[in-house]
């Protein structure tokens, strides 16, 4: 992956009506080369994951440059979600889980002894597959819940609240009812509320585990817009089963596959290349819809 840090950023092309995946991906190609975010890069070295004796993931080496969106694609059960859960150390929540390898954030291994896990999770936010606003809290409380959970102090909560909701593209819809229940929103709005919630603690990296799989196409597009805006200031890793989505939002795409054994990363490349001229035959079969 590229590590170049150029100052200019290609304009967003949000109004493109794609006729083929390759074409959409090409429209994003300009951005890959010029990346201006000076945030935090993320690198994984030789990640393995186990559930009990089951070896779920083998030797994943990926480098996520600052300010890029990387899509992880592949059939169900190939370890994409497991992989992103190893990045922010949510993997260890599952009884019997084990891992090997290094996850370098700013050059420091998040698994190094003596690391404060909660600090890691503040820097690496996560959005889940199912929208999960906290049921006992209002919309406003949901957004600011991370501050209370991590006991962070901010000077002006109202500004932060508005900023996070604006960045998540939800402000206009909820500004008049911040005191309502989070559960009173529609599914797509709830998911954007969850994104706003994870932005409030100012993460450097945002992991998204199929954030649109439970949503209608309209909400999906809104969230993709949000992702594009967010990528100006943060590094985003998104797991998706929707290849159009990968083509639309990501700079890089990594293809994961499990051939009965542990899941492996078959190929990673700029998104346009993955969809137009993949190097591996299996990638080509997958992105052209021949299996998976």
């Amino acid at each position: 992956m590229t590590t170049s840090h150029e100052s200019e950023k290609a304009p967003m092309e949000t109004a493109v009506k794609p006729s083929s995946l390759a074409q959409v991906a090409n429209s994003q190609a300009a951005k890959v080369q010029g990346n201006g975010a000076d945030g935090t890069g993320l690198e994984t070295r030789g990640i393995h994951a186990w559930f009990g004796k089951h070896h779920a993931l083998a030797d994943i080496n990926l480098n996520f440059a600052a300010g890029t969106v990387t899509a992880l694609i592949g059939p169900s059960g190939c370890g994409k979600s497991t992989f992103i859960r190893t990045i922010n150390r949510m993997h260890e929540f599952i009884p019997g889980a084990a891992m090997a390898g290094e996850v370098l954030l700013d050059g420091k291994d998040v698994y190094a002894p003596g690391t404060d896990v909660t600090k890691i999770r503040l820097k690496i936010g996560m959005v889940f597959q199912k929208p999960n606003p906290f049921p006992s809290m209002t919309i406003g409380e949901n957004v600011l819940s991370g501050l209370k959970l991590a006991q962070l102090k901010v000077d002006n909560k109202d500004d932060l609240l508005q900023e996070c909701l604006e960045r998540a593209g939800l402000w206009n819809e909820v500004k008049d009812r911040l005191g309502a229940h989070g559960g009173s929103l529609s599914g797509g709005q709830q998911q954007r509320l969850c994104i706003a919630r994870s932005l409030a603690v100012r993460p450097k990296v945002l992991l998204m585990d199929e954030p649109c799989s439970a949503l209608d196409p309209g909400s999906t597009l809104r969230i993709e817009d949000t992702i594009r805006h967010l990528s100006e200031t943060m590094t985003i890793v998104i797991v998706t089963h929707n290849m159009q989505q990968a083509a639309r939002v990501s700079d890089y795409t990594a293809f994961f596959l499990s051939d009965g054994g542990p899941g492996q990363m078959i190929e990673v490349a700029p998104t346009s290349e993955i969809f137009s001229r993949p190097k591996d035959e299996r990638t080509e079969n997958y992105v052209t819809g021949r299996f998976g």
């Binding site: 922010n88 949510m90 929540f93 009884p95 909660t118 600090k119 999770r121 503040l122 936010g125 996560m126 889940f128 199912k130 999960n132 906290f134 049921p135 006992s136 809290m137 209002t138 819940s145 991370g146 209370k148 959970l149 991590a150 006991q151 009812r177 005191g179 309502a180 229940h181 969850c194 919630r197 994870s198 603690v201």
Partner: protein, 348 residues
């Protein structure tokens, strides 16, 4: 083109014919049970009651079966069984409430709530004395037991659901075993382990200790069930936002489970509010309002009811019924207020 204005209808409702058919079956059931009582040696209200349901269930099953087939027959049979189950459950409860109201109301007066029995005996006229000491005593006992058992019970449930440590299995087993402990055993335990060797005196606190033993397993088990229902997503979301496990539990899991936890506490109070055996053994049952739970005998409603029934005079028995009514009323008030507090929604 004419537009037809539709009128709201409910075509799924039973037609007049169907309803008169059902009514005929009902009458048939009455007739059959009357005939059976008249012609067979089975007599009495219970016979009417039982025979009516049996004959009604059979009649409706047979007739529905003849007109609509075997599936309808089974449906009718099971429906009537369900109704029998509901009626059999409701009748005793209704009967108890009605009896308590009937016999307790004559004993209720304003003075009952402002006086204690310090200067009266159970056999005195009703105008003398009251049960203030018993009400305050019961409330004190329940409050003390709540203060001790709610934290222990909920923390136990949190250990079982959130920490899931090495001792989860044994602790769950112990809690389940404890919930089967007869109340007299809890009373005797406090008597022999605390009262005789240490305090050597009856007091409200001793009773509250025994009630706590009875209350903890109820609260712990119900809270565990409730906490297990909280989706794991929420715990993960809290942790992914940089919360420690403790803060995630305190800020997200417990508030989400709030109304269920209130139910757990209500069930705990229901378990102990009318508990009598340990109270008789441990509190000493004074006749005077005693604000100090740690010193001196303390009256309580179950003790008052037991003592009054034992006294045996008509006045005393009326007092006992009035005490029962007040106990039921207190439990009802506690339940409704807890429900109200537990389900209050965030203002919009």
């Amino acid at each position: 083109m004419t537009t037809i204005t539709p009128t709201p209808q409910k075509p799924w409702r039973a037609s007049k014919r169907e309803r008169s058919f059902d009514f005929a079956i009902l009458i048939g059931g009455f007739l059959a049970s009357y005939l059976l009582v008249a012609l067979t040696p089975m007599k009495g209200k219970l016979a009417y009651f039982a025979l009516f349901f049996i004959s009604y269930a059979l009649l409706t099953a047979v007739l529905k079966g003849l007109t609509r087939g075997s599936a309808a027959a089974k449906d009718a049979l099971v429906s009537s069984l369900v109704v029998v189950g509901a009626v059999v459950t409701v009748i005793p409860i209704g009967s108890i409430l009605l009896t308590v109201l009937q016999k307790g109301l004559p004993g209720i007066s304003f003075g009952l709530f402002t006086h204690d029995m310090a200067l009266a005996t159970p056999t005195d006229p009703l105008a003398n004395g009251g049960l203030l000491h018993a009400i305050t005593g019961t409330l004190t006992l329940v409050a003390l037991a709540l203060i001790m058992s709610v934290p222990i019970g909920i923390l136990t449930a949190l250990y079982l659901t959130e920490i899931k440590g090495r001792f989860t299995g044994p602790i769950r087993f112990l809690v389940q075993a404890m919930s089967g402990v007869p109340s007299i055993v809890a009373g005797l335990f406090i008597l022999s382990a605390v009262l005789y060797p240490i305090t050597k005196a009856y007091s409200g606190f001793m009773g509250a200790l025994a009630l706590t033993i009875l209350m903890i397993p109820t609260i712990a088990r119900t809270s565990e069930e409730v906490l297990n229902l909280i989706p794991n997503d929420l715990r993960e979301a809290g942790t992914a936002l940089g919360g420690t496990q403790w803060r995630t539990v305190a800020m997200i899991v417990l508030p989400a489970a709030k109304s269920g936890l209130v139910t757990a506490i209500i069930l705990g109070v229901a378990r102990i509010a009318g508990e009598t055996a340990p109270i008789l053994l441990l509190t000493g049952g004074g006749d005077k309002v005693n604000p100090n739970a740690f010193n001196g005998p303390m009256g309580s409603l179950p003790y008052y009811i037991w003592k009054s029934f034992n006294a045996g005079s008509p006045e005393a028995i009326t007092r006992a019924w009035a005490g029962l009514l007040v106990l039921l009323g207190i439990v009802l008030i506690l339940f409704t207020s807890a429900r109200f507090l537990g389900t209050r929604k965030i203002s919009r």
